[in-house]
Amino acid sequence: MKRLFVKKNLAGSSLFLPVLFILFLFFLLLPAIFPPPACAQDPAALRFDDYVLDQAGLLRVEEKRELASLLADFDQKTTNQFLVVILPSLPPATSLELYSLELAEAAKAGRAGKDNGLLLLILRDDRKIRIEIGTGLEEKITDGRAGRVIREILAPAFQRDEYYPGIKAAMLNLMNRVDPSYAPAAGGGGFPESDGQNLPFLPVLILVLFVVFFSLLDQRRLYRRGYSQTTFGPVVFRHRPSGGFGGFRSSGGFRGGGGGFRGGGASGGW
């Protein structure tokens, strides 16, 4: 069957190459036309690669796969969904806090009803890190803990350009917080796929991601559950899942603040 299919394609090869080229251009230009898309998958449809979305190329293919299989293993054994999203930069006209929340919502990190998701967002060019924590995990991972993971594990590693070791160490640390009995599968998960097979998989994955993203664009509003409501006064910021964040500039750009507050209040002048 497969052979037949290939032959058919070859027969129409006068069309095949230009179409391929246009498709290639399309994908090349997509990030420029649209801001970096949300990691928007249905958890039911999550495949091992979906736990990690690296649009900034900080991870090598094997690193990404290892990380994804670690996260998948953790999900399978404990039902907690940890996601890692790496983007080149923050889209214009949004804030880190709001955007990472929207990402977490769009990706539907965590199981429905349990809200036990965690999303690590890394913005390469902005040099920003944020950890978004589902309400179901807040007791186990306090904002203080998330802040410490950023300041003490991620930021120092990133300064040394050790992205994968840093992310992996951070994830293991957080996993241990959530479920101390969890032990990662030996050898980084058994996904028996060679690099050769893996490479053509990437464009397919990207295509799937974009399709899912566009199909979710309209629905996204549904998932905005009220983490930034204006209840009183003009600038009230009130959101549920929250995390610490910090930059990872070497010149002391660490800011613990930003994510710790999730109450309400009022502001005025005199």
Binding site: F232, G259, F261, G263, G264, G265, A266, G268, W270
Partner: protein, 141 residues
């Protein structure tokens, strides 16, 4: 630019201590010259810098003043915010602003502390095992 005398500060600290006797919640006052940005956002940073987001029941309340910009913010953490009526912070703000407009800063703060203290006492009554999680002082930077 000094809006609180030494005596004022003592009275405010007394008010905080009196209020905290009735509740497991935490009250703090932080005064700054300039917020330098949206005071509400700055107040959130201060909230975290002061470790106010670390209370067990998330029931810290911060009064933040940016003196030169004549702005102030009341922040109540999630625990207390979920309990009080929707207009609670706004009403407290109005009461405080009325005093502040007369340059009665200590009175305004004490009024805010009294109101927030009452709300905290109602929803988070003092427990015998309660420890004062944060220092009772006015922080100034």
């Amino acid at each position: 630019m000094k809006i609180l005398t030494h005596n004022d500060k003592n009275r405010i600290v007394q008010a905080i201590m009196a209020a905290e006797k009735m509740t497991s919640g935490e009250l703090r006052v932080h005064v700054e010259k300039k917020a330098g940005k949206d005071p509400f956002l700055r107040a959130q940073e201060v909230f975290q810098e002061l470790g106010m987001d670390q209370t067990r029941e998330r029931n810290g309340v911060l009064f933040f003043l940016a003196v030169e910009e004549r702005k102030f913010v009341i922040l109540g953490d999630e625990g207390i915010n979920n309990k009080v009526p929707a207009d609670f912070w706004e009403e407290t703000k109005e009461a405080m602003a009325a005093e502040f407009k007369e340059s009665r800063f200590a009175e305004g703060l004490m009024e805010g502390i009294r109101r927030a203290g009452e709300a905290l006492a109602k929803h988070f009554p003092y427990r015998h095992d309660d420890i004062d999680e944060l220092p009772n002082e006015i922080s100034i930077s």
